[in-house]
């Protein structure tokens, strides 16, 4: 089992996400401006809350997948590194039409992630009991202006910490003193862990011509908004009979990404991303499957081996099972 995967799925991991997108939007029009380009309803996002949403492309596809935190000064966009170019391009357009200030925080702030089934105990011990009260989809300002946000990418307990870059070393030292130096890891396991939960990375997992409906991200869009970007394009693509993104588990350990998958000589879909899952001891793949087969529970003998369509997530993570146990 890879070290990063083992730590995050089974114990705790501390990951430096300094290269992730961190952009602050402030100013009188900050809410209106953001609301005009993202799918979610920013006007209902109150201070201390977080939203997972997307920026629809003008053709009804996915321009970028982002998290947005409502903070005292305005809003903070958090996203994976690949989203920097599309997000900044859209924000540049907004600055032409709205009274907003866009600040790239990457150079002067840190972004750390404490994650895994044992991470909450370490975070509480290091950062205080307030951490325990931060619910999923919430953010809270800790001492020294450090922002702690419960947002999620791979189904484990995840606490994202942001603050002035000068504080990073002391925060890391504090976390390590309550965990161990062994929790330091990297983001190398994120792709497989995200695939296991069917959480998509736009650049890796979303074909350029796919609509938000094909990828199953329409839940990120409030279709009742009267200012929805690309509303007509989205409406036109709603009824398309294209392929749907489905999670598949395959018995082969070496499944090729970006390859067609066929059954009985007939192409039934396209494998967009595939990874070996150490939890399942099988491969997990995000497959754009013919819509008439895009349901969980089907088993096929395919060109890539025996493959089963499954509901997401592919399994309940230890963090979720722990939480369910406590709730029960």
């Amino acid at each position: 089992m890879s070290s990063a995967y083992e730590k995050i799925r089974n114990h705790a991991g501390l990951v430096d996400l300094k290269n992730w997108v961190r952009i602050e939007i402030t100013g009188a029009d900050a809410a209106t401006a953001l609301d005009s380009v993202v799918g979610g309803n920013i006007l209902d996002l109150f201070e201390g809350k977080a939203m997972n949403t997307l920026i629809p492309s003008l053709s009804g596809g996915v321009e970028a997948i982002v998290w947005i935190l409502a903070i005292e000064a305005g809003f903070q966009i958090i996203a994976e590194p690949d989203e920097y170019a599309p997000v900044t391009a859209v924000l540049d357009e907004l600055t032409q039409n709205f009274d907003i200030c866009v600040s790239n925080l990457q150079n002067n702030t840190f972004h750390l992630l404490v994650t895994g089934p044992e991470a909450e105990k370490i975070a509480i011990a290091a950062l205080g009991d307030e951490v325990q009260s931060i619910a999923f989809l919430n953010a809270f300002e800790l001492a020294d202006g450090v922002m702690a946000a419960r947002i999620g990418f791979f189904g484990e307990y995840e606490l994202h910490l942001f603050g002035d870059a000068s504080l990073q070393d002391s925060i890391i030292a504090n976390l390590l003193s309550h965990g161990s130096s062994d929790i330091v890891t990297d983001d190398s396991a994120f792709p497989v862990m995200m695939a296991e939960m069917r959480i998509l990375n736009r650049a890796r997992d979303v074909p350029e011509d796919a609509s938000v409906f094909d990828v199953g991200l329409q839940w990120m869009i409030d279709f009742q908004k009267d200012n929805l970007r690309a509303a007509d394009a989205l409406a036109n693509r709603r009824g398309e009979k294209a392929n749907s993104c489905v999670l598949m588990v395959l018995d082969s350990k070496d499944v090729s990404a970006k390859t067609d998958i066929s059954v009985e000589g007939e192409v039934i879909g396209h494998v967009r991303s595939a990874y070996y899952s150490e939890t399942l001891n099988n491969s997990v793949a995000l497959v754009f499957l013919n819509r008439d087969l895009a349901v969980p529970g089907l088993v096929f003998e395919t060109s890539e081996g025996i493959a089963q369509t499954v509901s997401a997530p592919a399994f309940l993570s230890k963090s979720v099972l722990n939480a369910l146990g406590q709730a029960a």
Binding site: R238, F300, A312
Partner: protein
């Protein structure tokens, strides 16, 4: 599990898609969601991210499922009320069991 031939798979998928559509319509009605069935992906989570429902909605959902699909949701099944697909699994499994009992 035994692999399916495509014709079988398409028939099973069509049956499941009918149940999935009926479930989405039921949830839209009972929770007064301002959505079309196509706005809700099959893998959509109900609570937190996804539809953003809460525990009060969970009770409404249970009543609606029991009424619409004629099954009883026991306490041990509450864990299955987490996504559209997991509820469809619950409906299909319980319908099958009831048929076997009958």
């Amino acid at each position: 599990m035994t692999p399916l031939i495509l014709e079988q798979a398409r028939a099973i998928a069509a049956e499941r898609q009918c149940i999935t559509l009926k479930l989405k319509e039921t949830l839209i009605d009972c929770l007064a969601l301002e959505k079309e069935p196509t706005d809700i992906p099959d893998d959509c989570l109900l609570f937190g991210v996804g539809l953003g429902l809460d525990s009060v909605d969970a009770l409404e959902i249970v009543v609606a499922i029991e009424t619409e699909f004629g099954l009883r949701v026991e306490d041990e099944h509450m864990r299955e009320i987490r996504s559209i697909n997991s509820i469809v699994d619950l409906v299909q499994n319980n319908t099958t069991q009831e048929k076997e009992v009958a």
